[in-house]
């Protein structure tokens, strides 16, 4: 038995099933991210002190990554538009570009994560806090390359273990800002990964549907596009709150 309104629009809503379903799903996603944004706003508002995003993030890299995601949104639109115009070859080209840009975004994000786990905050016995990359360490000493501050030259510092009161990597446990950073960007990256997998299916084996049911396939790509744009939209807010503010 064929499920009605898979391709045709329902007379009462004017929508085909999947589009209504996708928008309802996106509404639930707004609430999922909304809870986390509310946590961010609350924790930040009532914190006695809050770091600037630039203390922890590479702004040019983050800006480039945002541009990558925005570009992937337009290639997604062009892919869908190619199908509407009956140009399957162009669809594969634009969808392929969307996939590459999505993977590039995740690759840059992974590089950022790796950088955090090579970065330490070191509290010395006199209360001074030094942040930087650990170049080498043994049982008696740590050689730290401190972060450059205000363009000042930074030479490696050799610290005796007895001088160090506390030494913590920039993981989610370092402070509330980094806990929120990893939670929000981690959940966003999982969404992007899901989008990449769906797009990969539509670009590859799933595209066989174009031969049998071109309109239904176009609808599938439209739904995947809605999800992709939503993930882009979430990042549009994550970037300023985590990198710029």
């Amino acid at each position: 038995m064929e499920i009605p309104y898979g391709v045709q629009e329902r007379p009462d809503t004017g929508l085909w099933n999947a589009k209504l379903g996708m928008w309802l799903f996106l509404a639930s996603e707004v609430m999922l991210f909304g809870g986390l944004f509310a946590s961010y706003a609350t924790l930040r508002t009532y914190a006695p002190d809050w770091p600037k995003g630039s203390d922890f993030q590479n702004i040019p890299l983050g800006t480039f990554n945002t541009a990558v995601l925005i570009t992937s949104s337009i290639t997604m639109v062009m892919g869908w538009a190619s199908l509407v115009m009956g140009q399957f070859g162009k669809f594969r080209l634009y969808m392929g570009l969307t996939l590459l840009l999505g993977v590039l975004f995740l690759g840059i994000k992974a590089t950022e994560y790796r950088g955090k786990f090579e970065h330490y905050g070191v509290t010395l016995a006199d209360g001074t806090v030094v942040t930087g990359h650990v170049e080498s360490q043994d049982a008696s000493r740590v050689v730290l390359l401190p972060d450059a501050k205000g363009g000042a030259a930074h030479e490696p510092m050799t610290l005796a273990r007895s001088q160090i009161k506390r030494m913590i990597v920039f993981g989610p446990w370092y402070n509330t800002y980094l806990a929120l950073y990893f939670t929000l960007t981690g959940l966003h990256a999982l969404h992007l990964l899901a989008g990449v997998l769906v797009n990969l299916y539509l670009w590859g084996p799933g595209s066989r549907m174009w031969q049998r049911e071109p309109e239904r396939f176009t609808h599938r790509v439209e739904c995947a596009g809605l999800f992709w744009h939503f993930v882009d939209l979430v990042w549009i807010f994550l970037f300023p709150i985590l990198y710029l503010l």
């Binding site: 509404a27 707004v30 609430m31 609350t42 949104s73 300023p240």
Partner: protein, 115 residues
């Protein structure tokens, strides 16, 4: 992998095609606007504004980007009424979630309130 043979979609009405081309051009304009607003947001972060002013301007720019992306790239501006209704409800619940979460901290329980 065997690539499917390209086939033509059913013929479209001329008026609808013109509207479609117009929407496509709008999408490209929005793409350029999104990149320009991204640059503006980064530039504002180096402008030396006070913290609360900076938060307000940055969120305003992001909201503008979100409106453009949702309105044009996700076709919300020409979408059916039921979807806009669903999103209005979502917005109301989202606002409630934010207000209730933040408001819960505004009403601290102190020792004098405990009986």
């Amino acid at each position: 992998m065997n690539h499917p043979t390209p086939i033509e979609t059913p013929p479209r009405e001329p008026g609808r095609d013109a509207a479609f081309q117009k929407n496509l051009r709008a999408s490209i304009q929005v793409f350029i606007a999104l990149l320009a607003l991204l640059v503006a947001n980064v530039a504002v972060s180096y402008a030396g504004l006070g913290r609360s002013q900076h938060i307000a301007v940055a969120l305003l720019i992001s909201t503008l980007q979100a409106v453009l992306a949702a309105g044009v790239l996700m076709h919300l501006k020409s979408e059916k009424r039921i979807i806009r209704v669903v999103l209005v409800f979502t917005g109301v619940f989202f606002a409630g979630l934010m207000v209730l979460t933040m408001g819960s901290f505004a009403n601290e329980v102190t020792a004098s309130h405990v009986h």
